[in-house]
Structure formats: C-alpha cells, structure tokens
Symmetry: C3
C-alpha cells in the first residue's frame, strides 16, 4: 500500500510542512522506522530521535522545532498516528467467520451472522453471540450470557453465566468475567459463603486486558461503563460500578461496591477500598492506596492517598526527616544551655 504524504495528511487530520509528494508505504515507531515509513512524535522525551530516525516523514504538533524531514502538523499527533496505522495495517479482527468443528455449542445458544467460534471454545445453554463477533479458541461462555456485535474475545477467556457484554468489546486472553464476588458471613470461627446471585454488565467499546478478573455482584450488577479501558491483571470486585471512559492501568484493584466516576484514571498498581466513590475525572497515581472517597477532578497519590500537591510536598519532605531529627535534638541542647544560663 502506498500513499502520497499530502493525501495521508488529509486522512489523519493534519497539514504537510515540507515535500508533499513523498510516498509513504508504512508506519513504525520513531526508533524502528525505515525509509518509506511515517512515524510520530508525541512525547518530548523522544525529540532527540528526530535527528536520527530513518522515517520518511514525522507527524508532530505544530511548533515542533524545525527539521529537514517532511512533517505532518497535527493538533493531536498521537491520534493522527492511530489513523495512519489504521490505514496501513489490516484490522486485527479479520478472522475467518467460521465455527470450528471442535467448538462445543449448546443447541439453545444463538449465534448471529458472521460469527467465528474457535477450536475447543464452549458456548453453553441460552447464550447468545451477536453479529460479527469473534470468539477465539478455548473461550468459555456460560449459560444465558449475552455478547454483543463485533466483539473480539481472545483465547482461554472465561465468561460465566448471565453476563451481558455490549458491542465492539475486546477481551484479552485469560480474563475471567463473572466469577463469584468475595463474600462470606462469619459463623463462629468459620466463614460461610454468601451466594453471589448478581451479574456483570460490560457496556459498548470496553477493552479488558489479559488475566483481568471482574466479579459478579452479590445481588444486582457489577458494571463497566461504555468506552472504559482496563489493562492486564486488574481486579474489579463485586458490585463495583465503573462509569464511562475510565482508564484502569495494570494491576489496579477496586474493592467491592466502589464507584469510579466518568473519565477517571487509576494508574498502575493503585488500589481503592470498598464502598467509596472516586469522582468524575479524578486521577489516582500509581501504587496509591485510596482509603476514602476522592472528589471529582482531583489527583491523589501515596498511601494513604492524599491530594497530589500535598502528597508531593510530604514525600519531598521525607528526605529531610533524618536530618530534621538531628537538628531538633541539637536545638534542644542549645535551648537547654540558654535556659541554664538564664536561670543562673
């Protein structure tokens, strides 16, 4: 596939600075790019590679310091690059739409048109799979679970019974959706299991990472809102509600019944206790331990998580703490001497 830079700029929402007639034949990262490739510069950290990249053109923000190379100027270079990748790289979801003979599909399951079901996948009674959805090998889909259209479920995923998955949802390998919530009532020394009779709802355009676990609700629904993206190894407990367009980075853990507001971000390994609310647009820094509700549009960090400006001051002060201890001891001695003197 090839395209003139001028044409590509139009496709990706940018304008050319430099030779518009350069022919582009592929896309690559700034370090890996070869002649013929378009690449991009989204992070100032990589500006040094502008000098050395072998790419034939670079997508940059307007005002990026002058280079000899042809540029595509874009207000959102990352998004423009995505559009370039989409142009050059075939859709990953182009699996042949066939049901493998080794797949085990209940007679009462409903498959839409153009559905693929991979080898050794299992679809149980009453489950339904929407048009254009691809189920890869080894996937388990439980009783009465509904999966929407144009989804892509990677190998060895487990989706338990009565789960509802929207359209265009991507679920990566090994994820488990609808496992029992972790609920036990103490009966003397012994824990007695609370039957988990709720379900999980995953709305449209959600992406769920590899080996993620999302528990079903005790009663009611555990919900993942439209457009939310969940990275690998994240834990979502029973009755959690995640609103639209949130980002949960790898190894995040959310306690039971907690609510994550629209557009919130939880960075890697952050944790939130149960029964709290993380406000709309809030940002939780990596490894933060959130022990109480976070107001909307607030960034928190540290353990226990505090407003980020304050936390940063505290963590910077920590460095001075050992010296401070010495200093206060010394001040105490000087003060005692003065007191002694004044007494005398």
């Amino acid at each position: 596939m090839e395209i003139a830079l001028k044409e590509l700029a139009r496709l990706v929402g940018g304008v050319v600075s430099g030779d518009e007639s350069v022919v582009i034949t592929g896309v690559a990262g700034i370090k890996e790019a070869m002649p013929g490739d378009v690449t991009f510069l989204a992070h100032p950290r990589y500006e040094k590679f502008m000098q050395t990249t072998r790419a034939s053109a670079v997508i940059v923000a307007p005002g990026t310091s002058g280079q000899d190379k042809p540029l595509i100027l874009s207000d959102n270079p990352y998004l423009s690059f995505v559009k370039a990748v989409e142009f050059f790289v075939p859709n990953k979801n182009n699996y042949p739409r066939v049901v493998h003979p080794s797949a085990v599909i209940s007679d009462s399951a409903k498959l839409g048109s153009e559905v693929a079901v991979g080898a050794c996948a299992v679809v149980e009674d009453g489950a339904s799979i929407g048009d254009g959805t691809v189920i890869r090998p080894g996937v388990f889909i439980g009783r009465d679970t509904e999966i929407g259209c144009d989804c892509l479920v990677y190998p060895n995923v487990t989706i338990r019974e009565e789960v509802k998955i929207g359209d265009r949802v991507i679920i990566h390998g090994g994820a488990v959706i609808g496992s029992d919530g972790f609920g036990f009532a103490k009966d003397g020394d012994v824990y007695r299991k609370i039957p988990q009779i709720g379900n999980v709802v995953v709305e449209d355009d959600v992406e769920i990472g590899a080996n993620v676990t999302i528990d079903r609700a005790t009663t009611g629904t555990t919900r993942v809102g439209k457009g939310t993206k969940i990275d690998n190894l994240v834990q979502v407990a029973h009755n959690v509600v995640i609103r639209e367009n949130c980002i949960l980075v790898a190894q995040v853990g959310i306690g039971g019944t907690t609510e994550i507001g629209k557009g919130a971000t939880l960075a890697g390994q952050a944790g939130a206790v149960g029964h709290i609310k993380i406000g709309d647009g809030a940002v939780v820094a990596a490894q933060a331990g959130v022990t109480k509700s976070v107001p909307a549009d607030t960034m928190v960090s540290g353990y226990p998580a505090r407003e980020h400006g304050q936390a940063k001051k505290i963590y910077a002060s920590l460095q001075k703490l050992p010296d401070l201890l010495k200093r206060v001891a010394e001040i105490g001695e000087r003060l005692a001497k003065i007191e002694e003197k004044l007494k005398g």
Copy 2:
C-alpha cells in the same frame, strides 16, 4: 417459591418485629429489592436506604432504629441473609452430572459417582476425582492429582500433577495450582533452575479466586488450610503454609515458606516477604508490606508494616511534616538570635 415472614425468620435464626404474615418471594440487596423481597442491613452505611427500599421486610440487628416495615431481628443479620439466599436461590453447583464426550480422561484416572467433567477438560494418568465433584470445561488436572468430593472447579483452571484437593473446595476460573516454585541457584551470572519436587495440599472447604496462583513446594508441601478463602489474583509462593479459616483479599502476595496463622486476614494488595510468620488472628491492612513476623492478634499496616495504632499516628503526622520543616528552620533562626544576644 414463597414463605411467610414468620416461617422465614425461624429458618434464618431470627424473630419477627411487625407483621409476621407478610409473604416473601425472593431476596435482594437493599437498593435492588422489589416488593416481595426480603433484604438486609448489615452495614450502618446503608441505614439511609431503610427509608427507600421497596423490600417487604428487612433483616436487621436488634436495636436498629424503628421502621414501619416488618423486620427480622437477628444477632448476625449477614449470616441470616445468607440463609435466606440459600433458601430462595438454587445451588450453583447443580450442573448435570455427565462427562462430556470431548473431555480427555486417562484410562488410569478414577472418577467417583455423580461426577461432571466439562467439554475439553483433561484429566491425566492416575488422577482421581471424588463423588459429586464438578469439573467445568477447559480444566486441566495433572497426573496423580487427587480432588475430593463435592468440589466445583470453574473453567480453564490448571491443576498440575500430584496436588491434593480436599472436599467442598471451589476453584474459580483461570487459577493455577501447583506451578513450579520460583527457585534458582546462582551459577556465575546465570540462574539455574531448582527442580520443584514438592506438592500443594488444599484442605476442605477452601475457596480459591479467579487467576490465583499457588506454587508447589521446592520439597515438602505448600498448604492452604481448611476453610481458608482466597480472593482473585493472589500469589502463594512455594512452601507457604496457610492455616485454617484465613482470608486473603485480592492481589495479596505471600513470599516463600511464610506461615499464615489460623484466622488471619490479609487485606487487598498486601504483601509478606518469605520466611516469616503472621500470627493467629493477625490482620494485615490493605497494601501493607510485611517485612518481619507479626504477633498473634495484632493488626499491622503501612510500609514497612508496623502495629496499626503506631502506623496510623505516623501517617497522620506525615501531613504536618512540610510545616514542621519550616517551623524548625524558623526556631533555629530565633535561637541563633538569642544566642547572639546572650553572647553580646
């Protein structure tokens, strides 16, 4: 199914306050309940919903502030609710007891009576599965592994060779039991694998969450004690011994050879280094990093984990640290002025 409130109270170990003749037809959480449902109030946080719930009756602790609704008074409302759920909701483990023709079962494996083995599950040589146990699709059971009676093993679980699982154990999707312990001997710059020749023993009434990993012992046994409940994505290293009735919340990690005493609780994302002992009844707070043994019946928190009362004081003091630095600097200046004056 329907039952008079009077009768239900008897079943769940409570007494009615209000109209005993109300007919109950189901159970639900306080927010989702509809007329006909019984619900419960176990956490004061939800007391506000007592006014608005549509439930026909509520299970509460004696002394809960007066409501118009019929109540069941119970010393353990949560446990009473569990009993109500068990009455109304059919047992989850009611799968047809058949061996699917696509399951691959060794001729030398022994299956008890009333055993179910799901599609594409694999049971290897010499393995045994006790009466009434349900193995769901895609499960792998290795050579000479023994699984007890009335267990429920969810899809895509991997149980390696020579593991022993007791009775009434529940293992959620994607869990891996008996993977090699992480042991290497340094040989110059290179790490040489230490063969892991021990096993894993999981005692009766244990529940193991989705995508949990429990490593086999280097030599000897990694053990999970009777009645212990393990949440999703927990890591249990080689030679760990967990005693009875412990709670390990999601994403906890336990280092090799560490022992967890009876009835201990580790909250979410907590970690314990290897070769220590967490005492009976100890509580480790969420995200705590335990670097040395914890006495029985002690709560610890923070990193490194300290006795919780002390840790709470420290974390509260942290807030004042930036101001303290300024204050000590200012005190130093005032002191210097006095010293100057007294010298003069």
Copy 3:
C-alpha cells in the same frame, strides 16, 4: 537410585567431611528429610534444624559449625543441592512425544521432531514448534508464532500471533504472551485504540510464571532477555526491554518502554513507571515504586523509590515523627518564654 556420599560429593562439586561411605537414596528439604536423604543448609535461619534433621548427610558451606552428621562442603551449597536434585529426580519434561488427536494444528504449522502437543491445544497457521518442545493441553499458539527447541509450555497458556520464543523456555499455566499493548489516543472524551502492530521476543532459557502477562509492542518489540526468570502474575507492558539474567518476583509491574538492565532484580509487587531505565545489576526492593531511572548496581526501596540506605534511614525516622511533632511544639513554647524574658 542410590549413591555413596563420596561419589555424590564429586557430582555436586563438593568434598565430604565425615563418613564418605554413607549411602544416599534421595533428596529433601531439611525439615522433611528422612534417613537416606541428603539435604542442604543454605540459609543461616535453618541452622537450628541441623540438630534435628533426619537426613543422612547435609550439604553446607565450609566452616559451618561441626555436626556429627556426614557433610558435603560446597562453596555454593544451594547449587550443589540443585545438582543433587537433578541426579535423583527425573526431568519434569519427560512427557511422551506425541500429538494428541484432539489437538487442532493448522496444515501450515511446522512441528519439529520429538514434539508433544497436548489435548485441545491449538496451533494456528504458519506457527512453528522446535525439536523436543512440549506443548501441554489447552495451550493456544497463534499465527506465525515461532517456538524454539526443548521448551515446556504448561496448560492453558495463550501465545498470540507473531511471537518469537527461544530455546529451553518454560512458560507456566495461564500466562498470556503477546496481548495488545495498552495504548489509546484521546479523541475528545473518548479513547481510541492504537493498533498494536509490534511483537514479543522471549530469548533462550527464560522462565515465565503462571498467569504472567507480556504485552506485544505498539511498534517494534517487547523483549525478555536470555536467562531472565519471571515469577507469577507479573505484568510486562508494551515495548519493555528486559536484558539477560534478570529476576522479576511475583506481581511486579513494568510500565511501557521501560528498560531493565542485565542482572537486575525486582522484588515482589514492585512497580516501575514507563519510559525509564533500571540499570544493570540494580535491585528494586519489594513493593517499591520506581518513578525515575535507577543507576546500575544500586538498590532502591520505598515509594517513591530512593537509594536503599537513604530510604531505610527515612523509614526508621518515621517512627519518631509523632514524638518529634510534640517535641518541636514544646521547644517552640520554651523558646517563646525565653524571648519574652529577654524582651522584658
């Protein structure tokens, strides 16, 4: 199998102290050993068991305090023990080299000689598996993925398309290799997926733990260097480069594009943000949160991670912080009194 202690000492690179003629018939840990077994003492913590072990001989470092038992003196007792285990315990990778009839193998896949493929495993178009490699049941191997010789891939592992795995690699149950990197471009309020068109390369002699996730690169390669050992539930993000002979303990998370230098160690639950470099030979303590690059041969700990000596001082000082606050308040009062006095 039996062997005289003298002969065993030669095999494991040690020399006998005591009766060389003792016959050894097995290996075991110091607590589990029975008469006939050789055991080892690698950690001073276990020295107390030297008195009580039932083992017939013990592998120890030269200079270990005198015992009645026959000893093998070795400069690296742990490594000598590994060699003893290798002598007594049959290789774990001795599965029959057959392709199970229920495995689903593309006509265009290439299988070397002496390859085993387990029940319900799937090998897709263009994939290749080297001589002597064992693929266990339920494993998925994607299109054009190459797996080297003498590898062992445990059940229910997912290896996506275009991944390259070297020789003698061990991958434990449930691991996912080659899942999409977590990359999204913001388009208004909505996140738009960045197609992940790179791959993953796992070099020779790597071991990957149960339920580990290793994402493919956005463009280019996510790489795990020769001899590196990765414990369970570790997350390796897109474009990470891990050099040779590193150790990543359970539940570690590495952010995108970060580089881990040769021989580095990351202890349990540690995290590193993206776009940094952890130097050769560096050590990151358990639960540390690494927010900036770490120089070679440096140990860091805490959050945010600092040089370990400094961090230890800080964490020790923390204990005194509540008292320090009181002390400074009291000093302030005394100082005010003096100032008052001097004014008067």
